[in-house]
């Protein structure tokens, strides 16, 4: 029965992926992508990657979907836009190439060694020394902490890249358009009722990350989504990117991470090494410092380049 559910998931995933890439209508393609992300989260659950399922549901489906939905509406691409006609001569070679790549990858899947190489025993053996119980969090913040630090910095660089695309008069201004809604309408109501719940759920998913699936990225995504909901209802406005507090908040998390890294150089003899007995407090401190920065970065990445001056 499990195999049957898996097969069903596989067929649906492939159908939605084909729909996403081939649909005539841009909007329908984006909608297909969002549904596809939700299905992918189910597939990750079946591959016992609950942490990844959370990330996929939050970032892969939710945030990316919103980003593309916004872009599609800003581009006015309603209908087919006559797109698919230009490159019909490319179709056959492209199909052949794609089939060849898929075939080669499938051969690789079936040629994998009988006893898979795995680092799971090493992680299981060293998990106790980190004092956290979620092995993924242990890998992210103890065994491979450098990756996570650089990931946080990549997000910052992406944000700088997005901001630098603003036109000269709007540099330093507010990202996105000013949104309005009826003060007593249902949208404003939604934006008042959902965020408190979402913030509690986001904090819970962040907090549970030390011992169970969850963590700062997933928590920060939910918090960012709730912030955007408030902005969409016009209950608040996006801050101008010139503000000093905003920039300080953005870099505070990564800076705290780096500071802990240098602390390790002093106390434990290596960059990002944690002194004995302080592992879990330090991991939680890093996560707590990263949470607001990540929330802001994710939200601002979605809002895009500044489009207005500083005046609301």
């Amino acid at each position: 029965m499990m195999t049957f559910v898996n097969l069903l998931l596989a067929v649906l995933l492939l159908a939605l992926a084909a729909w996403t890439t081939l649909a005539r209508n841009m909007f329908a393609a984006v909608v297909g992508f969002i549904a596809y992300g939700a299905l992918l989260a189910l597939a990750w659950v079946q591959l016992s990657g609950i942490d990844i399922a959370l990330t996929e549901a939050a970032i892969g489906s939710g945030l990316t979907g919103l980003l593309l939905l916004n872009a599609a509406s800003r581009l006015h691409v309603n209908a087919n836009a006559g797109g698919n006609t230009g490159r019909s001569r490319l179709r056959v070679p492209a199909a052949l190439l794609s089939a060849a790549v898929s075939g080669a990858l499938m051969l690789c899947v079936f040629a994998l060694p009988e006893t898979p190489p795995t680092l799971a025993p090493d992680v299981a053996a060293n998990l106790a020394s980190t004092e956290v119980r979620n092995p993924i969090t242990a890998v992210l913040l103890a065994f491979r902490a450098m990756d996570t630090l650089l990931e946080a910095i990549v997000l910052l660089f992406a944000l700088i890249g997005v901001w630098s695309l603003s036109s000269d008069p709007h540099w330093g201004g507010r990202p996105g358009l000013r949104q309005y809604s009826e003060p007593n309408g249902i949208l404003a109501y939604t934006a008042r009722v959902l965020p408190p719940i979402g913030i509690v759920v986001g904090a819970y998913i962040f907090w549970t990350g030390a011992d169970y699936p969850g963590g700062k990225f997933q928590g920060a995504t939910l918090l960012a989504a709730m912030w955007l909901l408030v902005l969409m209802a016009g209950l608040a406005d996006a801050p101008p990117i010139r503000r000093t507090w905003l920039r300080v908040a953005l870099v505070a998390g990564p800076l705290a991470f780096i500071a802990v890294g240098f602390l390790g150089l002093q106390t434990a003899g290596a960059f990002l090494a944690y002194p004995e007995g302080f592992v879990k407090p330090l991991i939680i401190a890093i996560e707590l410092a990263l949470l607001p920065s990540l929330t802001l970065v994710l939200g601002l990445l979605l809002l895009g380049a500044p489009l207005r001056g500083e005046e609301p």
Partner: protein, 70 residues
């Protein structure tokens, strides 16, 4: 088609949202391991009830405005 326009389809959808998920949750609550787990399942259902109510209102209003426009 049995549900000819968007509003009737929305009507059908909310039944699936509220009642269908409610019944699934009800079934799972009966065999949940602990009281906390059962309460969490009910919370998921309540959250979807609330967000579903808000979203269906929004979509319905959006549809009405779209249709009242020439």
């Amino acid at each position: 088609m049995r549900f000819p326009d968007t509003l009737t389809r929305l009507h059908a959808l909310t039944k699936a949202d509220n009642l269908g998920l409610g019944l699934v949750v009800l079934g799972l609550v009966l065999q949940a391991g602990s009281v906390a787990a059962a309460l969490k399942l009910i919370c998921v259902w309540l959250l979807l009830l609330l967000s579903g109510a808000c979203v269906s209102q929004l979509i319905a209003r959006n549809t009405r405005e779209r249709e009242s426009r020439p």
